[in-house]
Symmetry: C2
Subunit: 336 residues, 2 copies
Amino acid sequence: MKTRKNVTINDLAAHLGVHKSTISRAMTSGRRHLISPEMLDRVERAASELGYRQNWAASMLSTGKSKAVGVLLPDITNPVFPPILRGIEDGLELDGYFPIMADTSRHPQAVRQAVDRLLSQRVEGFLIASATLADRWLEDLRNTGDLLPAAISDDAQGMALAVAHLVELGHRHIMHLSGPESLSTGLARRNGYLAAMAHHDLPAGPVLLCHAYSIEEGERAVAEYWSKAERGKAEAGKVTAIVAANDLLALGALQALKARGLCVPQDVSVVGHNDMPWLEQMATPLTSIRIQHYEIGFRAARLLIDGLKGAPGSAQATVMLRSQLVVRQSTGMPPP
Amino acid sequence: MKTRKNVTINDLAAHLGVHKSTISRAMTSGRRHLISPEMLDRVERAASELGYRQNWAASMLSTGKSKAVGVLLPDITNPVFPPILRGIEDGLELDGYFPIMADTSRHPQAVRQAVDRLLSQRVEGFLIASATLADRWLEDLRNTGDLLPAAISDDAQGMALAVAHLVELGHRHIMHLSGPESLSTGLARRNGYLAAMAHHDLPAGPVLLCHAYSIEEGERAVAEYWSKAERGKAEAGKVTAIVAANDLLALGALQALKARGLCVPQDVSVVGHNDMPWLEQMATPLTSIRIQHYEIGFRAARLLIDGLKGAPGSAQATVMLRSQLVVRQSTGMPPP
DNA sequence: TTGTAGGCGTTATCAA
DNA sequence: TTGATAACGCCTACAA
């Protein structure tokens, strides 16, 4: 139904009786000064009159630059990502770049498909939110020579904050609700937990593995553990605190504990991770580790662009952003 | 740093000693049958070997079709949108289209910029999530002849459900927390509220205008109203229920009421709209109107594509999706 | 300051 | 079944 055909540079040139290269020059800020002010004015007037817009594809074909960056997102439904995305957008925009997003969590081949499409669009680089470790396609990407800089949260430090907070309150038996081992955050946070426990000379309590960052998984893991404990196969009685790798897991834990008749924080303390929105509105406002969502996206974007501009070393650069403890009402002293 | 230059169709053709037309044919499903199976095999083998990928820009320049659809999002941070986006992705993918997203809530000129960029990318159509009414650029878009089909939630029906629920519980003085007048949902839901009240022969209670869909605005509006009431300028005493145009506004209302020492639902009942995620985890699980997020996105996408394919009438088609009442614990009988 | 010619990687249309 | 040629819309030397 597109009634009006797109106006091309030739149409504009013909309309003004000038050559298209003149139009071209008028449209690029870097070369505007090469033409007379009057001409510039005429061109601009005519352009907006006829509704001319540079054909991005043609321009990109000619210059070889797309000004596009591929952004791989595992799950836009997870509230961690929207702010990261905003950071990315802002970071890219500073240099006239823009993101092309691709959801990678749909079906198994989604990642491959997404990468293919983006490669076909000739994106100049990739930004990958929450990579699954050692994925084959990630390697492939590396091999194409594309940039893969990283801006990540300091997970070790975040877990240290969580554990320190609990230790300070008097806890000694602290359990970890771990995220999927296949995700970089899952592994890093678990290691962070282990290191922090060691740092305090405490025996690393049980580590419960969750297969996804979801409320259901958190609930399942904790419920299973406690019911095993009831049958004497675990010593849940000793655990007085839970450090989760993710807020959703923590929320699930909360539910499981409540179902068991345990009170938070009187019987068990719980700490989440990410400080997702609306936590303060929850039935039990969750103590959590706030990561710098926006900043992560922004820095990653800047890093990529620095690399594209050829800043030395920026390609492999990694920026670690510190986290922060936000104490709410899910943590308190252990039962006497 | 992109070390490896992109392989072109010419490289591939040279490598195989065939003409590029042959390669081109092998790459398009619609014309694969024109070449011999052996040739197809050779081409495919060589393609994956050399890492050839069609240059989308070149292809689009030649065919004039981008297979891209522009998606205008006001605020990806709002939990309503991610599921809509998923629906859009799925709807588009069925025909090989893909979305190019643009956030329109950054700065004042963001919309214009976004539309410009998308037009320059030669998207074949637009999908607009939550349009501000009568916006100039929307008109412009219409004028370019682009398709603007609509898949929306039946706001009138949703509000009717909310009001009916409260009336059934015995409420007669029902207030409305209205969204911004400039947004289509703001207006439609307010009108829906008014109509529903009229339907029950009830006087439309006060309508509080919020200038954004946020917890803060909801809190502000309700707090202001109640404090005015204290000074005798409003009759807050009579209001026993609040129908909000949005869950965030409702959550804000909850906070304001709590601050006043009012209990929900004993003193005042509150109904939200959208049924955002994690509502059941909240301190006061909110009764809300569930809209068909995913379906909205999906249907809108299909509508657009039908239009692009030239299905008659699909361009102006509007699909209305029914909502559903989800009763939780923020609504109950009015105080005696 | 403006015009000219050639090329970017594909596809479409003929011709072989 | 394959090959040749001319677009597609823009940019970049280089020439005027």
